[in-house]
Structures are given as structure tokens and as C-alpha cells.
């Protein structure tokens, strides 16, 4: 069945996905809110940048991140001159890569959920004495719950499934940066099909259960009026 290195790959994968999802919700929520509300003319530029990982081969993203985070890159070099370590081939580097890679999967569901709410519920809340922050947490967040659920699950599942970015910037260091998808690849390369089956089957089942849960829950939510007022 699973050996120690498989288990540590599973643990690293889950840890990576959880941390990435949390970071993405924290930075993705204000970003999606801004994208949903802003009437700025250059908004489309930022939308396009965020959507890039959807179309770009992950190796391209990984390649550029590797250069940026490596000892000679702008970020890695800056860190090194400050006495830190370059981020390439570290778990932190993996997280940075995953955040970029999974960003559209978190930002886009949130943005469309925020857009669907529209201006009116916020105006209603304002006339009922709620400050902007109060309005966000007591009106927008509850009304955008399906969006938050979709964003979290897609961000999480997509991070679990990444391969190219991880391989480029994380390398394949067992116990540090080796994640499930790469462990599967290694097993197949070594013709260890039974272990590859265990890991692949497990991943397939996990992904299916997560998506099923999202769609089932969102179906229940969507019976409600999307605009948030009636």
C-alpha cells in the first residue's frame, strides 16, 4: 500500500492546499470585491493577468517563478541580500507558486458572486445604519456564501492537482516539496503501478467528493434569490 514517502507526500499536499486556500481567500476576497465593484477602465488588464494561469502551461508559470525566486532572481536575490534563503525548491516557494497558479479559481467565483449581489442590498443596509465594513460582513458575505464555498473548494482541489508549477519551483524533494501528483509520476516511472493506483484512485475519489459537495450545496443556495433581496 502506501509507504512512508507516499504518506509524507500526501501530508505535504494537503498542507500546501490548505495554506494556499487560506491565503487565496484572504487576498482574493478584497481583490474580487474590487474587481466586481470598480469601474476603472484598466480593470480588464488585472482580470487578464489573474486569468493567465487558466491558459498558460503550468511549466511556463513555474519557469518564470523559478527565475524570480532563485538566488539570481529579483525576489530570491533580494531575500538573499537581506540574509535570507532563496525560495526556489522550498515549501514556501511552493506556496507562492500555488497562490499564483490557483488564483483565478478563487477570484473568479467570488467576483461573480459579488457582482450578482448588486448595489441595492448595500444601499438598503446603508439606510439601516450599517457602515461599509459592517455591510460587507453582514450582507455581502452571507449572500455570497455559495461563491465562497465554490472558491474554497476549487482553490483547494486545483492546488492538490498541480504538477508543472510544483515540479519547476519545488523540485521533487521527498519530505519537503514532493507532492502527490509528483509521487504518482515517480511511481509510474518506476513501474510501481499498484502504488500509483492507490494514490491516483484516492485523489480521484477525494476530488469527486469535494466537487459533489459543492454542487449539492450550491444547488440548495441557488434556490434562493441571487440578488439577495426580495
Amino acid at each position: 500500500m502506501l509507504n512512508d514517502s507516499d504518506l509524507s507526500a500526501l501530508f505535504i499536499t494537503l498542507k500546501l492546499a490548505v495554506i494556499t486556500t487560506i491565503i487565496l481567500l484572504i487576498i482574493g476576497t478584497p481583490l474580487a470585491w474590487w474587481l466586481a465593484r470598480s469601474r476603472l477602465r484598466f480593470k480588464f488588464l488585472i482580470e487578464a493577468v489573474i486569468a493567465l494561469p487558466l491558459v498558460l502551461p503550468p511549466t511556463v508559470l513555474g519557469f518564470y517563478l523559478l527565475i524570480a525566486l532563485g538566488p539570481n532572481g529579483p525576489i530570491g536575490g533580494a531575500l538573499q541580500s537581506l540574509g535570507g534563503q532563496p525560495l526556489a525548491f522550498t515549501f514556501t516557494g511552493l506556496i507562492i507558486g500555488s497562490v499564483f497558479y490557483s488564483m483565478p479559481f478563487v477570484v473568479q467565483p467570488l467576483q461573480s458572486a459579488f457582482s450578482a449581489i448588486g448595489e441595492r442590498p448595500l444601499e438598503v443596509a446603508a439606510t439601516l445604519r450599517a457602515s461599509p465594513l459592517d455591510r460587507f460582513f453582514t450582507v455581502v458575505v452571507p449572500l455570497a456564501r455559495p461563491g465562497f464555498l465554490t472558491a474554497s473548494v476549487l482553490g483547494f482541489a486545483h492546488t492538490i492537482g498541480e504538477f508543472g508549477v510544483v515540479l519547476m519551483i519545488g523540485g521533487n524533494i521527498p519530505g519537503q516539496t514532493q507532492v502527490l501528483s509528483i509521487a504518482i509520476y515517480d511511481h509510474v516511472e518506476a513501474l510501481e503501478y499498484s502504488q500509483a493506483h492507490w494514490l491516483s484512485g484516492g485523489l480521484l475519489l477525494l476530488s469527486f467528493i469535494m466537487l459533489m459537495t459543492v454542487y449539492a450545496l450550491n444547488r440548495r443556495f441557488s434556490l434562493r434569490n441571487v440578488s439577495g433581496i426580495s
Binding site: 444601499e123 438598503v124 439606510t127 449572500l143 434562493r224 426580495s230
Partner: protein, 355 residues
């Protein structure tokens, strides 16, 4: 207390440019055709429409003066939107509490129970907002606004999204607001019937500009305004129930100019009512007719006459200072030699009781 408002708001192909003083009590209707800027004016008063240049003082509260701008959540006002506005993620009770619990305790003058009672919605409290009918939703929305103990209530065509039956269901509550509330109400409407029933004052907007403003009964009969022309032109008379005649099944209504006799209405004596007298139901005679089926005949003085189309004229009369409109043919006006100042008798064929 008065409300002083001055706004200049430019939107795509539309400019609202008004400077007005609104009485600090009673219901003031903001009236005009759609697109004349009624809603924009109300939104500007609420602070929902931010303008770089404007002035708004409500009683002793300064809400806007140029760049000084109090955001809507810091203005103690209630706002009832035209379309339904209940939060779907909260049930009726939590919708009502949403505003109430954000008002400082010291400012709370209206309790949840009072607001619930006034709109008769206690049976709806535990329901989901999506289960309510349109009329029930608007009643909850009005109660929710009142529960914040506002200093002024703003209503943006609260009935326009409802069908006739629902309108009639809500009307009595709006009338009771008029009687129970001590705060001024601004009521946006383009329905003359609603205005005649509810309003005390009228603010008439046209193409983003203030056309006229004043007491409703006066405004309805001012011949220089469009309200006093056309088939629906009518005067509004405030009267009180004086008594009933059991033999002929009649009700007597007294107003400062005399007494109306109408078919019996089940109303208590001294009850205040509004009467609508349509201009085409009023005819004029130079002498008091005695052999006539018309019961309501009043001596009046002609104040003003203006042409109404080619064949008719609109006459503004005063019955002891109370204005009335009569629409008659130009020929009759000529035969009777009607001129301003002439004494005549106004025969009122029918009156409508508005409340």
C-alpha cells in the same frame, strides 16, 4: 423645523437642479412624470447619490454642505425603496432588527413592537422574506425603516410595484403613518390618486427642475400648473363627519365653506375625511337652483378662468376661501358672463371620499 435642500446632479443626459424648502411635518409628495428626477432627489437626500456640490439641512442636522458629506448610515432617516428590499438571508424578524440594533439606545424612540403593530405584521415575524406577498414585503420594509426611529421617512413609490389589490391593502397603513408619525415624510409618486389621499404638501418637478411647491389643496387647483387641467383635474377638500341622516341614509360632511351631503358612509362623527371633487362634475349657475336633484350647492366667487382646449374653460372658484375647480364649456361661460370676482353658485354632482 424645515428641510432645506439644494442639489445639482448631472447624470447622462439628465440634470437635477433644485433648491427647495420642505415643511418639517406631514407628508410631502414629490410628484412628476417618470424621468423628472424625483427618485434622484430622494436618493440625494438619503445620501445615496453623492454629489460634489449640494446643501442639505434637516431640522438642526446638517447632512451636506459642499464637500462636507454625512454618509447615509450616519443620517437618521428611514428609506423605503420602490422595489422589494428585504434581505433574503434573514427572516422577517431579523430584517426588522437589522436597523434597530444599529441605532444607539439613547436614540431609540420606536420599539420593534410599535413598528410591528403599526403595520400589523406580527404574524409574519418568523417567516422567510421570500415567502411573503409583495404587499407584506413592503409593510415589513416600512416597519424596518420605522424601527430605526428616523427623524425623516423617505418613501420612493412604495406602491408602484404592487397590483391594485395590494395597493389597497397598504394604503390604510400609509394613512395611519400620516396620523401617527410626528416626523416628516417625503413620498415620491407619479400616481395622482395616492398623492390626493396621502399628501399634505406637493413638490412638483419637471425635467429636473422645481416647477412649484406648496400646500396640496392649493397646488391641485392652481390653473398655472398642469395638475389643474385635463379630465382628472380635481379639487381636494378637507372635511369632518358632522352626522348621519337615518331616514334617507345620508352622511353630512362639514368643511369651512359649508356642508356636503353624500350617500351614507359608516364613519364616526368628527372623523376627518378628504373629499375629491372632479372639475367636470361641477357646474355653475348664476342663481340658486331650488328645483334640482343636486344636493350640494355652494355660493362661490370666481377667481380665475383659463381656456381648456377649444370648447371648454377651467374655472377656479373660492367657497369661503376654499378653492374648487369647475370645467364648463366656453359657450356657458360666455352666456353666464363669467368674469373674475363674479358671484355664482357651484353645483357639485358627485364627490369621492378618499379615506
Amino acid at each position: 423645523m424645515t428641510i432645506d435642500a439644494r442639489f445639482k446632479i448631472t447624470r447622462q443626459n439628465f440634470t437635477l437642479d433644485v433648491n427647495l424648502t420642505i415643511p418639517g411635518k406631514g407628508i410631502s409628495a414629490i410628484y412628476g412624470d417618470s424621468g423628472c428626477g424625483k427618485t434622484t432627489l430622494l436618493r440625494a437626500i438619503a445620501g445615496l447619490e453623492k454629489t460634489p456640490d449640494g446643501y442639505l439641512q434637516v431640522g438642526d442636522m446638517l447632512w451636506q454642505d459642499g464637500s462636507f458629506f454625512v454618509p447615509p448610515e450616519k443620517r437618521s432617516l428611514g428609506y423605503v425603496f420602490q422595489e422589494p428590499s428585504l434581505f433574503t438571508h434573514l427572516n422577517v424578524r431579523r430584517n426588522l432588527e437589522y436597523g434597530l440594533k444599529r441605532v444607539p439606545k439613547t436614540d431609540c424612540k420606536v420599539s420593534l413592537e410599535q413598528a410591528v403593530d403599526l403595520l400589523s405584521i406580527s404574524h409574519l415575524l418568523d417567516r422567510n422574506s421570500s415567502e411573503l406577498s409583495g404587499g407584506e414585503r413592503q409593510r415589513v420594509a416600512i416597519a424596518r425603516a420605522l424601527a430605526t426611529s428616523p427623524k425623516i421617512l423617505l418613501m420612493d413609490e412604495p406602491l408602484s410595484a404592487l397590483d391594485l389589490k395590494r395597493k389597497q391593502e397598504i394604503m390604510p397603513y400609509l394613512e395611519s403613518l400620516h396620523d401617527e408619525l410626528k416626523i416628516p415624510v417625503l413620498y415620491v409618486s407619479h400616481a395622482p390618486g395616492e398623492v390626493a389621499r396621502l399628501a399634505d404638501h406637493l413638490i412638483l418637478l419637471k425635467d429636473g427642475k422645481l416647477k412649484a411647491a406648496g400646500k396640496l389643496d392649493d397646488m391641485l387647483t392652481r390653473l398655472d400648473l398642469p395638475l389643474a387641467h385635463g379630465d382628472r383635474a380635481a379639487a381636494l377638500i378637507h372635511a369632518t363627519v358632522a352626522g348621519h341622516d337615518t331616514e334617507f341614509n345620508l352622511t353630512y360632511l362639514d368643511f369651512p365653506g359649508g356642508r356636503f351631503t353624500i350617500a351614507h358612509k359608516d364613519l364616526p362623527v368628527n372623523h376627518a375625511v378628504r373629499l375629491r371633487v372632479i372639475a367636470r362634475d361641477v357646474s355653475l349657475t348664476s342663481e340658486h337652483q331650488s328645483q334640482t336633484s343636486i344636493l350640494n350647492i355652494f355660493p362661490a366667487v370666481i377667481e380665475e378662468i383659463t381656456p381648456e382646449g377649444n370648447a371648454q374653460v377651467m374655472v377656479r372658484l373660492l367657497i369661503q376661501g376654499i378653492p374648487l375647480l369647475a370645467r364648463i364649456t366656453r359657450k356657458s361661460a360666455s352666456l353666464l358672463k363669467l368674469t373674475p370676482g363674479k358671484k355664482v353658485f357651484a353645483q357639485v354632482k358627485s364627490v369621492a371620499l378618499l379615506s
